[in-house]
């Protein structure tokens, strides 16, 4: 049943195109039924999972590789699938009202269904390869959704970047999975859990950890692999809300959480995760100040908040992990609602530029309410749930020096300091997001459309999500006991009771919160000065420049290499091919000392006629190389052919002789016909060949001859099997009714080969015909790519081509459109 639930969105995805044809714009309502039914089913399963029941299904897929399609619902999975299906429902309803009817709705819902199913698969799989499959499916569906408006440049580039990075991370994860299977012997999470000591002790442990974490960090957009997330904001806003803030980017966190009992608890694990998490936390919050686009602010805020959660997993204590899981829930709630709010503002005013928007609360009160609750929750202000989780984070940060990060020594005292600084800036941009846009004296007149409040279709999902902030704040213990504790158990394998309250007393966390709010207010009142200060920072190095260098540099290097050896000259191709053959065959012969195996004891006697024929043929062959005029060379070549046919006559093989004669005649005629087309003059001058090249050609030729000689002599001497000629000699007449053994072999005993030969002949004839008669010019750009123009114009999500900002949407660096780090 669980497998059915997980695969339900895939089935829906298959049906979406058909349903689109039937339902057109009503498709969204039918599509919403899928996440709604999933949400209700998983809610009904909640009590059973909390009671400890194992809801699992497993289908054997590739047994001999140890790969099963195995899904299981435990606490952590349940938390995630409820998030996925719940937020999915909200986003689907929202998207019905958000997308215009002329958009490609069939594609949209198909891809969202695909994503939903894949994400459910990631969060419920117990077999690691199965999880990897779904992981990559999320990458693919994310790619499809980011590039939804593929007619514009930026979505395509953003989708490409997202795909390249997340797929690269996926490969690292696959490598880590395979290494784990190599070390521990199984792909199943339970088996790996039992074998975690083996994993820790293995010398491959650091590599596994690093690879796994690279994959998780790419997916969760941590520094320095975060560069795909801001450009992924080119996707429609419902997608940004669903994938790139609430669910898909949490997949990295899910992976880290899943692997914590298996691989975690060591210095390497905790250290890397903490450092990367805290760096992303600070970096994201600092960068968010610089943004002019609301979605840009939210994108960097997502990077920052995910860094927060990840660093909590890095701290490693049960309290920290509990705080991380709780913040996961709250972050989805407020970030999702903020994205939906951004979409509403964009839809109603036609712009997302914060410089152009002011005082919207007068005309869009409900949206303002959503924004207020969401941004205050993000800032960590009471009485919202964000305050609760922020408090827990600061508490864990203050305790960090006592946790298993004790190896860091005095550096661990830096952690709360970093946490406070980042929280200050989080506070600043969150509060600015609300106040700068919604509070003001007059409604802005600089936006493209005059704003008014939107309909209930878009407001309701946003209100539902944002009310979650309040509900969790009102009754946090309910949520913790039902949802979070199960998840905590899955990760830490210990019963930990998280006690949440608004007031714990004057704890260090409370003091830190007060400092954050005070200093945050100070910074906020100097907001413009701070923003200009940040904007003045320009940098040339960083992950984005590395990515661009890779993206443009790799095809160029490949093109240069290709141009070097595919240069259009047949003689060069021939030389390369022949050298390769020589390397393999002569090399092998030298290695095995082939010449010692040559046995010439039972060769037939050679008489004068054969020797003289050999001399004539050799002289003619030499003449082919040395003659300067083409017609002499062609005639010399035909002399060689006729000598060979003479040989066949001597050896008493009339069929072969006849065939050789005819072939020689016809091919000579063919050469002469072609001769009319070749440029007149000496062979050596067209094109001119330097003497060094001629020497190389001569050496290659001699070596090839030597190789052929060796092969022939070896074949003569090393008779491993009886000759099959006697079989044909005896059986040609009785079995096939013919006296001519050669012909009978060709058409009867080996008829299949002959059929292949005549097929090849036909193909050759058709090929020549096509090349000559239908010859076409094919120009291709060797480098195959165009440089994307910097400073592409921005478009807002409603599909209006309103040009809002001249440079790249999210960043103000005129020289360097994407983030400087």
């Amino acid at each position: 049943m669980l497998l059915g639930l997980v695969l339900l969105p895939f089935a829906a995805a298959f049906l979406m195109p058909l349903l689109y044809k039937m339902l057109r714009t009503k498709l969204g309502w039918v599509a919403t039924l899928v996440p709604l039914s999933l949400f209700v089913s998983f809610l009904s399963l909640l009590p059973r999972v909390n009671a400890g029941e194992q809801i699992a299904t497993s289908v054997a897929w590739i047994p001999w590789l140890g790969v099963d399609l195995a899904v299981r619902l435990d606490g952590l999975s349940l938390l995630f699938v409820l998030l996925i299906s719940g937020i999915g429902t909200a986003v689907m309803i929202y998207s019905i009202f958000y997308l215009h009817h002329h958009e490609r709705l069939g594609n949209f819902y198909t891809f969202i269904m695909l994503f939903m199913g894949a994400m459910l698969g990631v969060c419920t799989s117990t077999n690691l390869v199965c999880m990897y499959l779904f992981w990559e499916l999320t990458s693919v569906s994310s790619f499809l959704l980011i590039g939804f408006w593929y007619e514009k440049d930026n979505p395509r580039l953003g989708a490409q970047k997202a795909l390249l990075l997340t797929m690269g991370g996926g490969f690292c994860i696959l490598a880590a999975i395979l290494l784990m299977q190599n070390v521990a012997g199984s792909l199943n999470i339970d088996d790996l859990l039992a074998a975690s000591d083996v994993l820790h002790a293995s010398p491959l442990y650091p590599i596994i950890v690093v690879l796994l974490l690279i994959g998780a960090f790419v997916k969760s957009a941590q520094v320095p692999l975060h560069i795909w997330l801001p450009t992924a904001m080119e996707a429609p806003t419902p997608i940004s809300c669903y994938l790139h803030s609430a669910t898909m980017v949490k997949a990295g966190i899910y992976l880290i959480a899943r692997m914590t009992p298996i691989l975690g608890g060591t210095i390497l694990w905790g250290g890397i995760i903490t450092v990367v998490g805290l760096t992303s936390l600070t970096f994201g919050s600092l960068m968010a100040i610089r943004q002019f686009d609301m979605k840009g602010i939210l994108a960097y805020s997502t990077i920052s908040q995910l860094g927060l959660i990840i660093s909590l997993f890095g701290f490693g204590t049960e309290a920290a992990i509990a705080a991380g899981l709780f913040h996961l829930l709250n972050h989805s709630a407020f970030k999702g609602s903020l994205f939906l709010m951004t979409g509403i503002v964009d839809h109603q005013t036609g712009t997302r530029d914060v410089r152009l928007l002011k005082g919207l609360a007068k005309v869009m009160p409900i949206t303002a309410l959503i924004a207020c609750i969401g941004s205050f929750s993000m800032a960590g202000l009471p009485p919202f749930s964000g305050f609760l989780s922020k408090e827990l984070f600061l508490e864990a940060a203050a305790e960090a020096h006592a946790s298993n990060l004790a190896f860091m020594g005095d550096l661990a005292y830096l952690i709360p300091f970093v946490a406070v600084v980042a929280s200050i800036f989080t506070f600043v941009y969150s509060v600015a997001l609300f106040f700068k846009i919604f509070i003001g004296k007059q409604v802005t007149t600089t936006s493209p459309k005059y704003p008014k409040e939107t309909g209930w279709g878009m407001l309701l999902p946003a209100l539902c999500l944002v009310s979650l902030n309040i509900i969790v704040a009102v009754a946090p213990q309910v949520f913790v006991d039902n949802l979070i504790s199960g998840a905590i158990y899955s990760v830490t394998r210990a019963e930990y009771h998280l006690h949440i309250a608004f007031w714990h007393g004057i704890t260090p966390a409370f003091i830190m919160t007060c400092i954050v709010i005070l200093l945050g207010l100070v910074v906020y009142f100097n907001y413009d000065w701070v923003k200009n200060l940040f904007l003045s920072y320009k940098s040339r190095i960083g992950a984005e420049s590395a990515y661009q260098t890779f993206l443009h540099g790799l095809p160029e290097v490949a093109a240069k290499f290709t141009n070097w050896h595919i240069n259009g000259k047949l003689s060069d191709y021939m030389a390369l091919t022949v050298s390769g053959a020589l390397l393999f065959i002569l090399g092998t012969m030298i290695h095995y000392n082939a010449w010692s195996h040559i046995d010439i004891s039972d060769l037939a006697p050679v008489d004068v006629l054969e020797i003289s024929l050999a001399v004539v043929a050799s002289l003619a062959a030499l003449g082919v190389c040395l003659f300067k005029r083409r017609i002499w060379a062609i005639l010399a070549l035909s002399v060689v052919g006729f000598c060979v046919s003479f040989y066949f006559v001597i050896m008493r093989a009339p069929d072969l002789a006849l065939t050789q004669l005819m072939v020689e005649t016809i091919s000579t005629v063919l050469y002469l016909l072609v001769l009319y087309k070749l440029p007149y003059g000496m062979i050596a001058d067209n094109p001119p060949m330097p003497n060094s090249r001629r020497t190389i050609n001569a050496i290659l030729g001699v070596l090839v001859g030597f190789m052929a000689f060796t092969v022939t002599m070896l074949g003569q001497g090393c008779k491993l099997f009886e000759s099959i000629a006697w079989y044909y000699n005896e059986n040609a007449l009785p079995l096939a009714g013919g006296n001519n053994i050669v012909n009978v072999t060709l058409v009867d005993f080996r008829g299949f080969d002959t059929m292949g030969e005549i097929t090849v002949l036909s193909l050759a004839a058709i090929g020549v015909f096509v090349m000559i008669k239908l010859g076409r010019e094919h120009l291709y750009d060797r480098h195959g790519m165009q440089h994307d123009h910097e400073g592409a114009t921005a478009f807002n999500d409603s599909g209006n081509d309103t040009v809002v900002i001249q440079t790249d949407t999210y960043f103000q660096d005129d020289d360097f459109p994407i983030s400087p780090l």
Binding site: V663, K677, N740, V747, D748, S762, I766
Partner: protein
């Protein structure tokens, strides 16, 4: 100048008629027309010796190739050689007479390829319908009243297919390369 060509023996009549200057101009125009008639366009090696010899030889070549095709089963020969011989004969005619020869016959050599392949494949499939493996050949002896014992084999059909394919290949290639001047 083909005015010296001994073929134009009737030119003497033309020349003897025209005496005046105007008539000489007309004559030269008529000479040109006659030359052009006698000079086939794109016309190969237009040598009289070659043309006469090849017109006779082509019959022998064709007969010999047909003989070799049929006799291949019990004597040296077979489909490949026969096909090459036919191609050789056609090439000879093409060399002598040039493009008009090919254009007038209007045979689409590319058609030989699928027909020949079908013969070969059909022989193979025929065995399948009778329950035997692919490409099982059959042969039998048929006593005919006048010719005596006549041996029939399905391999001959296969060989005929090979024959057609070889002709098709050689002539497609040569005619296409040759035509493309």
């Amino acid at each position: 100048m083909s005015a010296q060509n001994s073929n134009l023996t009737n030119l003497g009549e033309v020349q003897s008629v025209a005496e005046s200057r105007k008539e000489r101009i007309e004559t030269s125009k008529m000479l040109e027309a006659v030359e052009k008639n006698y000079q086939p366009k794109g016309g190969g090696i237009n040598n009289i010796l070659l043309k006469t010899a090849s017109l006779i030889l082509i019959w022998f070549i064709m007969l010999t190739s047909l003989y070799i095709l049929v006799a291949g089963h019990n004597a040296p020969g077979g489909g490949f050689i026969a096909g090459l011989m036919v191609s050789g004969g056609m090439v000879l005619m093409y060399l002598c007479f040039g493009r008009p020869f090919v254009a007038n016959t209007r045979v689409n050599y590319r058609l030989f390829l699928p027909v020949g392949l079908s013969c070969a494949l059909g022989t193979g499939l025929a065995g399948l319908f009778l329950g035997k493996p692919f490409l099982t050949h059959a042969f039998g002896h048929v006593p005919l009243p006048f010719f005596g014992d006549w041996e029939l084999t399905s391999a001959s059909v296969f060989d005929f297919g090979v024959f057609l394919v070889v002709i098709g290949t050689c002539l497609t290639i040569i005619m296409n390369i040759g035509e493309n001047k």
